[in-house]
């Protein structure tokens, strides 16, 4: 016996197998991100102060638009197959994949930006944010000691700030000249990396996990666009189903981002 309902729906449920499978998988994803969002809420409730405005909102908005675009193109790709228009499918799916790559590219620029953006907590209780001369990666106070550095040259984002930077993100403009900060005055030094604070910890965890989903999704979609599309000739119905299933996953990734964006960038 062969496995039934791989492409034709089962009469009583009206569904083909993969569709049930993907929705179940998405159900588990809902719980995965649900747990992370719950953690976000609790960390935020528990925090003394929750940084805001440290992320670049225009970039985030643009990336949201990119992802939304890819979501509509992937459903158009499926619709094209339904209308028997294979070239159009190729086009729309191609755009989807390009959007995915664009999203990842932009995200990695954002990441890189954060990795070189530092905060120093001085022993007098004030803090400053800015860049260190030479834009080093992953420096912190322990590494200063390990490398026997007795000072850093620090380009502050603008004077002493006790609270977090103002809205509008790390505006490159108002940089002061580099000043010397002695090691002995530094309590703690950290870039905007996960270890910086629970805010960045959850930010990086959520966005990296989301980015992994984007990577996984675009690999699958790329397969359907490239070598996998041969199936259109042999079993068009099943191929269309595959696109639908891939699309469902892709929409879910988009959906997660729809929440991630306001929660991490705006609130």
């Amino acid at each position: 016996m062969d496995i039934p309902y791989t492409s034709k729906p089962r009469p009583d449920t009206g569904l083909y197998n993969a569709k049930v499978g993907i929705w179940l998988f998405l159900a588990s994803e809902v719980m995965l991100f649900g747990a992370l969002f719950s953690s976000y809420i609790l960390l935020r409730i528990g925090a003394d102060k929750w940084p805001s405005g440290l992320l670049n909102i225009p970039i985030g908005t643009f990336n949201t638009a990119v992802l939304i675009t890819s979501s509509v193109t992937v459903v158009m790709a499926w619709a094209s197959l339904k209308m028997n228009n294979f070239p159009k499918f190729k086009l729309y799916m191609g755009i989807t994949i390009l959007c995915a790559l664009a999203f990842l590219g932009i995200k990695s620029i954002e990441y890189k930006d954060k990795f070189t953006h530092y905060q120093v907590w001085l022993k007098d209780g004030t803090t400053q944010t800015g860049h260190i001369e030479g834009n080093p990666y992953f420096l912190n106070h322990n590494k200063l000691d390990a490398r026997k550095l007795d000072h850093i040259m620090f380009r502050s984002d603008g004077g002493h700030v006790v609270a977090a930077a103002e809205h509008g993100g790390n505006a490159k403009g108002g940089h002061a000249a580099a000043v010397k900060i002695e090691r002995k005055d530094i309590q703690r030094l950290s870039a905007y990396v996960p270890a910086h604070s629970t805010y960045f910890a959850i930010y990086f965890t959520l966005t990296a996990l989301h980015a992994l989903h984007v990577v996984g999704g675009s690999l699958v979609l790329a397969f359907f666009w490239g070598p996998g599309s041969k199936m259109w000739k042999t079993d068009p119905e099943r191929f269309t189903n595959r696109i639908e299933v891939g699309g469902l996953f892709w929409h879910f990734v988009d959906l997660v981002w729809i929440f991630l964006f306001p929660v991490l960038y705006l609130l």
Partner: protein, 616 residues
């Protein structure tokens, strides 16, 4: 229909165009056939069951004879694990004393291995895989390659867990619950430590379970044979169905937690680390701001549904075996089904009964103890239905039935002792004592393991075409039953006396002998149980030898079955050839009636299988 001979089936099989010959690797190692995968799960998980037992045997030695070298293999163990882990006896200098760190590692890994690498893979992976598609009349799982991936993810997870014993610092040592901050601060001097590997292993195991769960649910929804309506499904399938949902929805939060703890351990984040941590007199160099309770909530959000993952498949097996060997229908099939569904729902909202003493507020702990009491009701229903099913039966006491019958009171003890733990006011005294250890081992060891043994003896003939030996089986049963109780019953006494769990010296610090002036110190009887339990545990291990012999011997030399339905059972798996070929059924099966039509008045035989067509 059932009595068709072997030879004819064989011919059919060859006539089947899909039955091409696969090479050894594709057929037995990287197989996509659910039966082979089930067998792979079975063997791997049994090995892990043995490893889990080996760990606890060493721990029990230390509990019974604190500071004494293990009698055999001490020097070898020291060579493998190093002198930090295995020390010398104070007086004689004999090598082979389990050190506290090793004890904690073994404890954590015993729990982890037993739960995630032995029992779940047996109950869900092995039995679920082998039996479910057959019972619903499906040719295979819906996603055979995904099924293979599940097994290999499980296998990899197991390998990672085992490797962790041999890295510097040794395996995870914060209990199977891995509470932060201990899990993060212990062994922090190593970049990659046992806890890191534990987390990586867990992510693999979770992935395996998630893929498995998707596969199982889809299979049950989509591949039921003609006529196999929901209310005609064997209870075992229902149990697997609910179990799969528990895995699907409860595991992801632990995966999230695992990722966050991994971040804490590797990237120095503070998800579970509050502000102001001071370890060994030095403030920790972290941002702080996290919450240790967050980990506990995420862990137990899985942890409680997980315990039903451990028990429900066993209940399913027991129901099948009881129906078959009482030769009458299960009593209250619908009640069973609704109860198991109810358990599924409730199991998600009781988790914090593991956390009554974490400073929980009155309102929330009232909520959780109410739900905890509610969940015990459907368990009582299930047990009652199984008990009442016995009434009016014509009971055959073969080995599977003996294990299934023993399951009932053993689970009863385990379940009942859950009640005093379930009230927050009485949990104050019992929390983290051996009473808890006794409680849950009664459900998982003489409970679940007996259920699984029943299943192994029961479906062995279908899988191999041969019976297991009844005599060895009965020896296995009798001694297992005696020793199981001898191991776990005294633990209630110890717990009531106030002995804490996870004690390297078996509570000697708190004994009258060490602290005679203290009121409420543990008396000699309680302490002596440490020794008797250990002896019983060794006896329990030895009692498995007949089983192991029986298992392998019967596979090649057991009594052959003479029919495809040797137990004269009613469910669909018994209408396939024995052992079932790839694709399972020679012609499309159909279910014509409910799953347990035994001793139907007026029928020719005392069983009327689901697959027997209505007489025209």
């Amino acid at each position: 229909m059932q009595a068709t001979s072997h030879a004819t089936h064989h011919d059919h099989a060859h006539a089947d165009p899909h039955h091409e010959e696969l090479g050894f690797w594709r057929k037995y190692i990287f197989s996509t056939d659910h039966k082979i995968i089930g067998f792979q799960y079975l063997l791997t998980a049994l090995v892990f069951l043995m490893i889990g037992f080996g760990l606890i045997a060493l721990m029990r030695w230390q509990l019974a004879y604190p500071g004494r070298a293990i009698p055999i293999g001490g020097a070898l163990l020291e060579r493998v694990l190093g002198p930090d882990m295995v020390g010398k006896e104070a007086v004689t200098g004999k090598i082979g004393v389990i050190m506290p760190d090793l004890y904690n590692s073994f404890g954590a890994m015993h729990g982890t291995i037993m739960v995630f690498l032995a029992i779940v893979p047996l109950a869900f992976g092995a039995f679920g895989n082998f039996v479910t598609p057959l019972q619903i009349g499906a040719p295979d799982m819906t996603f055979p390659r995904l099924n293979m991936a599940s097994y290999w993810a499980y296998y990899l997870g197991g390998v990672v867990m085992l490797i962790s014993f041999f890295i510097p610092g040794g395996a995870a040592k914060s209990g199977w619950t891995s509470y932060s901050p201990l899990a993060t601060v212990v062994d922090a001097q190593y970049d990659i430590n046992g806890q890191t590997l534990w987390l990586v292993g867990m992510v693999l195991l979770i992935t395996s379970s998630l893929l498995g769960a998707v596969n199982f649910i889809t299979t049950i929804i989509q591949l039921r044979a003609k006529g196999m309506t929901w209310m005609r499904m064997p209870f075992f399938v229902w149990a697997q169905f609910v179990t799969a949902f528990l895995l699907l929805l409860a595991f992801p939060p632990l995966e999230a937690a695992g990722i966050m703890q991994l971040m804490d351990n590797v990237f120095d984040t503070s998800f579970f680390l509050p502000t102001g941590l001071v370890v060994s007199g030095k403030p920790l160099d972290i941002s702080g701001g996290g919450s240790p309770l967050l980990w506990q909530h995420l862990f137990w959000f899985l942890g409680h549904p997980e315990v039903y993952v451990l028990i429900l498949p066993a209940m399913g097996i027991v129901a099948e075996v009881i129906a078959n060997n009482t030769r009458r229908p299960l009593w209250g099939y619908k009640t069973l089904v609704y109860s198991v569904i109810t358990i599924g729902f409730l199991s998600f909202i009781v988790w914090a009964h593991h956390m009554y003493l974490t400073g929980m507020g009155t309102k929330i702990s009232t909520f959780f103890q109410t739900t905890t009491m509610m969940i015990s009701i459907p368990s009582v229903f299930i047990l009652s239905c199984l008990f009442i099913s016995l009434w009016g039966g014509s009971i055959r006491f073969n080995t599977p039935m003996l294990f299934a019958l023993a399951f009932l009171p053993m689970f009863g003890i385990g379940g009942l002792t859950g009640l005093p733990l379930g009230f927050n006011a009485s949990d104050i005294y019992l929390h983290d004592t051996y009473y808890v250890i006794g409680h849950f081992h009664y459900v998982v060891a003489p409970g679940t393991i007996f259920g699984l043994f029943a299943g192994i003896y029961y479906w062995f003939p279908k899988a191999t075409g041969r019976f297991m030996n009844e005599f060895l089986g009965k020896i296995h049963f009798v001694f297992s039953l005696i020793f199981m109780n001898a191991v776990f019953m005294p633990m209630f006494v110890q717990g009531m006396a106030g002995m804490s769990r996870r004690m390297y010296d078996g509570g000697a610090t708190y004994s009258l002998e060490k602290a005679p002036e203290v009121i409420g110190a543990l008396n000699e009887t309680v302490m002596r149980y440490n020794i008797s339990i250990t002896h019983a545990a060794i006896g329990l291990g030895l009692a498995q030898i007949p089983f192991i012999i029986n298992f392998f011997w019967s596979m090649f030399a057991g009594k052959r079955v003479t029919s495809d339905n040797p137990w004269q059972a009613t469910t669909l798996e018994w209408c396939t050839p024995t052992p079932p070929p790839h694709g399972n059924f020679l012609k499309e099966p159909a279910a014509y009636r409910g799953p347990y039509e035994y001793s139907v008045p007026g029928a020719a035989t005392d069983f009327t299988p689901q697959f027997q067509a209505e007489k025209p």
